[in-house]
Symmetry: C2
């Protein structure tokens, strides 16, 4: 059974696809044109009532929320591909902690930078310059803590690559493609971490295959 | 070894304490006076560099982010107390999905209502009436989807109580103590779900023991 992933050009779907790639699970990308509002069509809303990207279909099992989908496949194929949850319950606790940090602290300002710098034109919105600076400032504070953490361990949850690192890929990739790339590049350990995780063959393949219209 | 939970009067620490109670894990509540800024003191920042509540200490294991802590103890004591992760990998996937929905869709507007209606006075801030109405409107949309979901299953992740329901306890408890309680009470299935989960002895005990200053 091939897993269907809806909305492959969107950042959050890339989280799912890079996870499936690392877990060696075959998938089929199903396009959803968010610029035409297809994620709000009744057929899509049957799969995902909140009308956002992504959702997966795996036989008759449907699941949404990218971080939940990543956890599900990392658990389901625990012994296949790369271990992404840590080896012990304590390591998994650490993975969960940094996944939550990504979701609660990193994501919102990174999302604002992506939307208002990279996607303002295709979305037809006027960039909010105040929000850009406020988001960059928030991200400075968050990344200062990452820098400290990454000076002590190679990856966020410890000395092993995990879902916690993976979850940062799509929006960090956007940031390093803006004038705000210094947020990453001016921090020695964050910059080295980014070089490491963004050079994984799984990520390079997903970025190459599913480009957003910018 | 007794688990230390920092900041028991805060909503997010209550997520952790109700989880520990359901898992029959002994804990000690360590007060942190956020109204005096104790969560920004150097000693606290050593435990939690982001300076927010809660953090736990369990011997030499320290963990922050309430939803990560809940997952850690639900996994560590899988066969003790109430099963909170579902019985199968598919059920756990569903638990993770609704935990993410809570974190990504429910939490922010519910938090805004709590801060600007209940806590404006003790925090010394002027309530932002526009934000209150905007947050209530966002929550209407989210809870309409919950109502549909809860018309089909008794709890969010299925016909079993889980972390997904538990994670909603602290902020829904705030909402039903404001003039915005109709958001919960005007929805038949959401209202019945709230009565069910808020009447669990674990939650009633935590609310009784650790009251915020309102």
């Amino acid at each position: 059974m091939v897993v269907k992933v809806y909305g492959p050009i969107c950042a959050c779907a890339k989280r799912v696809m890079v996870c499936l790639t690392e877990k060696e699970v075959e998938f089929e990308a199903v396009p959803v044109d968010i610029f035409k509002g297809e994620h709000k069509h009744p057929e899509y809303l049957k799969l995902h009532p909140f009308g956002v990207i992504p959702v997966i279909q795996d036989g008759d099992y449907t699941l949404y929320e990218s971080r939940a989908i990543m956890r599900y496949y990392s658990e389901k194929y625990r012994s296949q591909g790369v271990e992404l949850l840590g080896k012990t319950i304590e390591e998994r606790g650490r993975v969960e902690q940094w996944l939550e940090v990504e979701a609660q602290n990193f994501h919102a300002p990174a999302y604002n930078l992506a939307i208002h710098i990279l996607f303002a034109a295709p979305l037809g919105i006027t960039p909010d310059l105040e929000l850009i600076e406020e988001s960059a400032s928030k991200l400075e504070n968050v990344l200062n803590i990452y820098e400290e953490r990454l000076s002590k361990s190679k990856y966020l949850a410890g000395d092993f690559f995990s879902l916690a690192d993976m979850s940062h890929l799509p929006f960090t990739d956007y940031i390093v493609n803006t004038e705000k790339k210094y947020l990453i590049r001016d921090r020695k350990h964050v910059s080295a971490w980014w070089d490491d995780i963004s050079n994984r063959p799984s990520w390079k393949k997903i970025v190459e295959l599913y480009k957003p219209p910018i």
